[in-house]
Each structure stands twice: as C-alpha cells, then as structure tokens.
C-alpha cells in the first residue's frame, strides 16, 4: 500500500470530481487525455505492475461493456464507453492503492459519519478473500464425497451443497467476529486514533484544483459551442 501525504477526504473529493468529469464528456479525446494523465500518475507512483494486474481483472468488464454498447449503438460510442469505464476504474484504483482503509474510515468519521458505518466500510472488503477461501474448502469437501462441483450446468443443481455450509459459516464467523470486536472496545465512546487526519494546505490545494477542473469541464460542456 502506497500511503500518500494527502488527507483521504481531499483525495476522495478529487476522485469524485474526476468521475464527474469522465461522465460529463462523450468524446474519446478528453477521455483518452484523462486516462493518459492517470497513467502518468500510475508510473510516477511506481504502481504500474499492480495496475496491469488490476487491468487484467477489469479487462473483461471493459471488453464486455465496449461490445454491448458497440452493438447497441456504434463503434465510437463503444470506444467512449470502454474508455470511460477504464478511466473511472483507474481513478479508484489510484485512490484505494494510496489510501489505507483505516485512514479512510478515520477521515470519514471526522466528516460526521457514525463509527460503525465507517468501520464496516473499511473492513468488509478484507473478509472477501476469507470467504472465498472457505468456499474453496467447502467445494473440495463436497467434491471429495462425489458431489460434482467442477463447474458447468450440473454444478447449479448442487449449489445448496456449497451455499448451505458457506452461509452457516459466514453467520457463525460474523458472530465470532462481533464478539471479538466487543471484547476490544468496539463502539466505545471516546475512541481516539493513532493517526488523526488533518486537512492541511496541500489538501485545500487538491480541493481547489479539483473544483477548478470541474468548473472548466462544466464551462466547456455547457457554454462552449
């Protein structure tokens, strides 16, 4: 995780403005230019390897989106749709790669959101791999008893053999987790963070630049011929 010097809130504002900018334009040139600028940031932050890995995962969605829109509309609209998805994906890739989840939740807490909400937001993604690992174990256990789960349509018939144990385990896991959190003071009033987020002049600068970009974009979109 590359931890940046900016407050997560200023980065979140920049990411949201970037997304609005990408949604506003329906021409491939500004989208490609924006994507190029994002790619430069990726290179400067030495994140190219993990970006390529991320693109491998996003690639199928981009291709599917491009194909559907191209067939439904035309090739150019398909390219715009694909570029937009790629660029928005990269915006949030950069945001999450440079923002440790705890700092994000601490920062959101400062904005007045309740602690249980920000905590769940920052931790929920962490347990996705845990549940995937458990699903694999369950699949192996069922295959070992002759239940076909190798994929394909027959697997659907035997879905309860996977989903049943997984749901039971997920509920049990959630109970155990809640108990452990309670035992370490979850939700106690007066929580104080080791890294208290502070909005400094660099953050105001980021917000200022973001708003300027948004204003320029709106001006180009609505007032230029």
């Amino acid at each position: 995780m590359k931890s940046s010097t900016f407050d997560p809130r200023s980065k979140l504002i920049a990411a949201l403005v970037g997304t609005l900018f990408l949604v506003m334009f329906n021409h491939w040139v500004p989208l490609a230019a924006f994507l190029g600028a994002l790619a430069v940031m990726v290179l400067l932050l030495h994140l190219s390897r993990s970006w390529i890995h991320f693109l491998k995962n996003l690639g199928f969605a981009v291709f599917a989106f491009f194909t559907i829109v191209s067939l439904a509309s035309d090739l150019l609209t398909g390219i715009v749709a694909g570029l937009r998805l790629l660029a928005i994906g990269t915006v949030f890739f950069l945001f999450f790669r440079t923002t440790p989840p705890e700092r994000l939740s601490n920062a959101l807490l400062k904005t007045g959101l309740p602690y249980p909400f920000t905590f769940v937001l920052s931790t929920s993604m962490q347990f996705v791999p845990v549940l995937i690992r458990r699903a694999r174990n369950i699949r192996d256990a069922q295959r070992a008893r002759g239940i076909p789960m190798e994929g394909g349509p027959r697997t659907l018939l035997h879905l309860p053999a996977l989903v049943g144990p997984l749901l039971i385990q997920a509920f049990t896991f959630a109970d155990e987790l809640a108990e452990a959190m309670e035992a370490r003071g979850f939700g106690i009033p007066g929580r104080r963070f080791r890294f208290e987020p502070r909005f400094r002049w660099v953050d105001w600068t980021v917000v200022g630049i973001s708003l300027a970009v948004l204003t320029a974009g709106l001006a180009i979109k609505f007032f230029l011929p």
Binding site: E102, A144, R145, R194
Partner: protein
Amino acid sequence: MILHFEEVSYSYPGSAARALDGLNLTVDPGESVLVAGSSGSGKSTFCRASIGLVPHFHHGKFTGRVLVAGCDTRRHPVHELFRHAGLVFQNPDAQLFNQTVEAELTYGLESLGMRPSEIESRMAWASGLTKLDSLMDRPPQTLSGGEKQRLALASILTLRPRLLLLDEPFTHLDPEGTEELRRILRTMKSEGITLVLVEHRLHEVIQDADRLIVFHAGKAVAEGPPRQVLSGDISTYGLNLPSLIRLFRTFGLDETPFNADEAIEALKTRNLLEPFSSRLSREIPKLSGAPGEAASPIVEGENIWFNYEGRNVLRGVHLKLQKGECIALLGRNGAGKTTLIKHLNGLLKPQRGFLTVLGLDTRRNPVSKISRHVGLVWQNPNDQLFRPTVREEVLTAPKAFRSYDPAWCNQLFERFGLSSLLDRSPFSLSEGQKKRVSFAAALAVKPGLIVLDEPTAGQDESFRRELTGFITRLREEGCAIVLATHDLEFAAEHATRWLVLSDGQIVADGPPEEVMADAAVMTKAGLRPTQRFQLIQFIKQPGKDTP
C-alpha cells in the same frame, strides 16, 4: 483475588441446558491456572463470563455473581471490563478484523482513547515480545497459523490486562508454534499477569500451571496443584492426560510424571526401572506393528511436484501406502501436508510425477471416480454439512456413487453412536457429534483409504478414545489410513509409519521410533520427540544413569 465466580449459573438463549451450573471459583493475582474438561463442560462459557460477554453480549439466563478485579460483571459493560481482563478466543481468524498487523495491535488502545505516544510504546512492547516486528505491514489474513495466534495474543497484550484468558490457544499450532507460545506465556507470568488457560492438550502446559481446575457439566469438580488433581479420581471427566501419566496408569503406577526426567526419577525411587523396562519392551512392538510385506499397495506416488502461486509446495514426493497400514503425515504448518492429502483423491493433480490410488492414476481420472475409494475426513466438519438430517448427510456419498449398502450404513450409525440422531439436523449437533457424522459419511462408501486431517484438534479424551477404536477397527478391516496431524503423541500411538514433510519434501519415512531417533530430521521439520519416546530411549540405553 482478580477473578471470583459465586454460584454462577447460565443458560444460552433458547437453551434449557445450563452451560454453567452453580460455578464457584476464585483466581488470585499472578496465578497461572489451567482449566480442563471435556467438550461442552462449560470452559468457553466460563471464559466469556470472565470478561462480561456472558451475559452482556450473549444475553440468556444468568444468575450468581462474577467479579473481575472487583467489578461486578452484571453492572459493568464489556468495554469497561476489557481494561482488566482480556480473552484470546479459540479461532484466531475470527478475532483479527483490521487491515494490517499494526492496526490490529492498536485497535484496543484506540478504543481506550490513549495518546499516540502511549500507543507507540505499548505496540513496540507487545510486538517485540511476540516477535511480530517484521510483520507490521502485513494483512493479518496472510499470516501463518502460528503468527495469527501470536497476533491475537499481542492485540490483547497491548491492553496490559491484569488477567489474561486463553481459550484453547494451542489447537492449531505446530510444535514450534506451541513452544513459542509457551515462551511468551512464561514471560507474561514472570511480569505478574494472571493467566487462565483453557486447554485439552494438558501435556503442553501442565508444567507451567500453578493450579488445575477440572470442569464437568458447568461446575468446577476438582481443583488444586496439577499433581494433586491428576492423582485423584478424575477418570470420568474426559481429561486428555499427559502421555507419561497415562503410561504409568497402564502399568498400575500412581505417580504423576510431567516429563521423562520425572518419570525416570519416580521409577528409580521405587526401584521399578528394571521391571518397567522389561514390560515396556514387551509393549513396544504392539505400538509399532507394521503390516506384512505381502500387503497390497493402495497408494503409489512417484516424484510428485506441485506448484502453487509460484511456490513449490511439493518437491519430488515419493509415497507408498499398503493395505491395513496407518501412516502419519507430520511437519510444520505450510510444509505441504494438506496439499499432499488433496492429491490422494485427485482434488489436486501432480504437475510432475504421478500418483495412483488402487491402480487409478489421479491425473487421468476425475475426482468423482477416485473419491469412491478414498474417504476424506476434514478438520472442520462444518465444511460439508448441508442436508436437513443426519441420515441424509451420511447417505449423500453412497447415493452419489450408487453404492448404498443399507446393512453397512446401519452398522456405521451404530458404531458412531448416531442411531438416536438420524432425524436431527446436523447443524443442531455438538462439534464432537458433527465430527462423528463426517466420519460416518466418509466411511459410508466403504473406502479402501481413509484420510484424517487433524482428527484430534480441539477434541477431548472421550473422542480420542473413540478415534482409537475407529482406527484399530478400520485397520483390522484392511482399510489404509493417513493421519495428517500435529499431535505427535497420537501419531506415535497409532501410526505404523511416519512421513515427515519439510518444505515440500519428505525428509523421513519410517517407524515412529526410528524417525524420532533422528535428531537432525526432527529439528529440520520442527518436531520434538514425544515424552514417551524419551523415556523409552533412556530405558533402552545401557547404564541408565542419566536421563
């Protein structure tokens, strides 16, 4: 006193049974207390009640009084009690909920609203003690079992509780992890922290405990210095006695040796070394009886290689297993044991080399075909339960393989004590009963090979005894057995052959005594000879003057 239970009774919501039934107990500051008892005796509930989770989190019906550092748990919420008493839960995975090791360590301190400088200093202390310094940026879910357990402990230690409770902390640890945890606990004790350990594996910790409390049906039925308690009549409480004590009981001796040195001393004092030695030598062949040379091979594997995520998990493994043989797969966590057992029914295929099971090449046959001959009992029975009744659960595989034999299945229901449970939902059973269902389900297709993954982890003595019976009977019926385990005492008592894995390679393959005698191999694989073996070694050596 730091902890005091006064006539405490408790039932979980929706249950009429009392998990605690008039429990009276006191723990003094600085004491190291070991709590033992069979599954369902109330040990975990006792831990929860000690930090206020019972009744505040679990609700239910609570009577009596629990005082933690003078605070009545009925009047103080958990977030006030956790400053005084910390609990390390059974399952390390379910208590690590932060993104990094560092965040995990600071979570409780942030809850207490501590200053950042104090947080830094406590974090440095706890991470140094538990040797987590080099892992601070790692996500907890990527750590090994031993590292996770140390992190779970460290996350509580940062709170500097005066009372530390640990619920079966050794269950998922390999021998090295166990030794490391014992070292940390000794340091805790020397720093004046009161320790309460709940553990089935008494031999791991009995030497470090000041007091042993035995639980049975929600009550403390025996307590006192460990030797005194173990000398008494505790046979009905399902305790997993240390192996040397069990050995002494078998020979009609009432001493309570905790290690080989003490056993030798006791035998010398009573002038019993010679008779014990000759009787023990008559017993040894029984413990390590091997199948005849003419037995037919069930599994044959040559030069098996398997790579996962860029790491060679198996590197040129050779494996042969004969009918009626029981082998133990041993080694550290991550040595390749689980990967190898998944090869035995084709869940994983060798990327180089080959493996045949009853003549079927696992590379060329689907799992569904090989599984017909291989019963796999997983460590967690919850991975497989999904049918509405126990009967349907056990009959799933025979029906899938079209090999349903009613007479055999009825015999299994009897043998595993499931006859009265057949119409019950498997989810409503205790963990021990679920384990028996998974055994019956694996055996229902009459497999030629049965693979048991950590069969004794978290199980009490009565289950171990049942398991001993199952294994003996299965071997008599010609079934080959593979035990993947960290429980060397159990492996030494039941396996005819030990296969020791280290970094994906088999570094030893032979009878337990032979493997344990090879100090270099044992060190390489992170294993320790059993206490029983140490005693036998001493008795065998000429002179017998020093242990």
